[in-house]
């Protein structure tokens, strides 16, 4: 309904302004309705300006800046309505080391109510995990899972993972 949308929009937008500043260490990021008069059918525009930079179209942002802005918006949505779980496949691919650290801290702050599944090549991102699964293809074309436990148990390799509940 229109009232629900307006309320969700306002809350997520306020969250977004904060998560943007957390990930960028400043700057201005927010959503704007394309049609203030007609909220029932309006689209949503995103404006983003990293610290010290002039406000321009988001298209001109760098690859890493675009990733961070999108992640800020995603986390803002989760803060309003958490998902049971969230799968992020190599969303850190365009980020430099210091931004991967910021991304990691933001995800850690969200992880008490949402199960995050991070697919990654980054050692920094991996290190944030309490559960680690390695995927291997010893036999070409056939995937196998290897569970690596990290909390309170010594690391062990298992051919099949045992349930942790």
């Amino acid at each position: 309904s229109r009232k629900q949308f307006k309320e969700a929009f306002e809350v997520v937008n306020e969250n977004f302004r904060k998560t943007f500043q957390t990930l960028f260490g400043g700057g201005v990021g927010e959503m704007r309705l394309t049609d203030e008069e007609n909220i029932g059918e309006s689209g949503i525009d995103i404006v983003a300006s990293p610290p010290g930079k002039k406000l321009q179209s988001v298209a001109l942002l760098s690859g890493g800046e675009k990733s961070l802005t999108a992640l800020a918006l995603l986390v803002a949505t989760f803060q309003y309505k958490p998902s049971p779980f969230c799968v992020l496949d190599e969303v850190d691919a365009a980020l430099d080391e210091s931004n991967i650290q910021r991304f990691r801290r933001l995800i850690e702050s969200m992880s008490d109510c949402t199960q995050f599944i991070l697919i990654t090549h980054s050692k920094t991102t991996m290190a944030a995990a309490s559960t680690l699964y390695g995927v291997t293809m010893q036999e070409p074309g056939v995937s196998k899972l290897v569970s690596v436990r990290l909390e309170g148990e010594r690391q062990r390799r298992l051919e099949t993972s045992e349930p942790s509940i």
Partner: protein, 182 residues
């Protein structure tokens, strides 16, 4: 709802049955070399939640998700993905009963508050959705996850290379994300 287990069998590069278990919260990470099957795990999750577009799963037609054989293995006859979640508010020790989540009722599962969603696809093209052992429709699976970010507009799953899409998508597509959460 919390995530408990994912099983893949005959799905993409998972020729043999493989399983991941989760603690329901916190951070799990999936790692490995290029081409070993990490994104295929993510595809398995999208697929069992009811993904209808083969293209989103990088295929040309839906049968492309069935293990198609390798140097030493024959193709599989079917693909199965099974997702198990649980409702932490269901009380243990009581016999498993029908429950409600997200305003929808679901049939009793193996344990109280447990919800298992399974999808099968046969190379003939026949397919099935099964919720807690009861054959269901795609619609039931979508309803179960409506508004959680795991429904048909699953903003909670970001595929490889898609992180930029939020910014480059049309203003009305972004509206759909807020509407889903609302």
């Amino acid at each position: 709802l919390k995530l408990k287990k994912l099983e893949l069998f005959g799905f993409k590069s998972f020729c043999d049955k493989e399983e991941l278990t989760f603690s329901g919260s916190g951070i799990a990470s999936i790692v490995g070399p290029n081409g070993c099957g990490k994104s295929n795990v993510s595809d398995g999750i999208s697929w069992v939640l009811g993904e209808q577009s083969a293209k989103t799963l990088r295929g040309a037609r839906m049968q492309d998700v069935i293990f198609s054989g390798s140097r030493d293995r024959k193709p599989s006859g079917m693909a199965t993905v099974s997702l198990t979640l649980y409702d932490p508010e269901a009380r243990d020790g009581q016999p498993a009963v029908d429950g409600t989540i997200n305003g929808l009722s679901y049939p009793a599962g193996k344990r109280p508050g447990e919800i298992n969603v399974t999808r099968k696809l046969f190379s003939s093209g026949d397919s099935q959705y099964i919720i807690n052992g009861h054959v269901s429709r795609l619609r039931d699976v979508h309803d179960l996850f409506m508004g959680t970010g795991l429904g048909p507009n699953h903003y909670a799953i970001i595929e490889q290379g898609r992180i930029g899409q939020v910014l480059s998508s049309k203003p009305l597509d972004r509206r759909a994300i807020i509407e889903e959460a609302a």
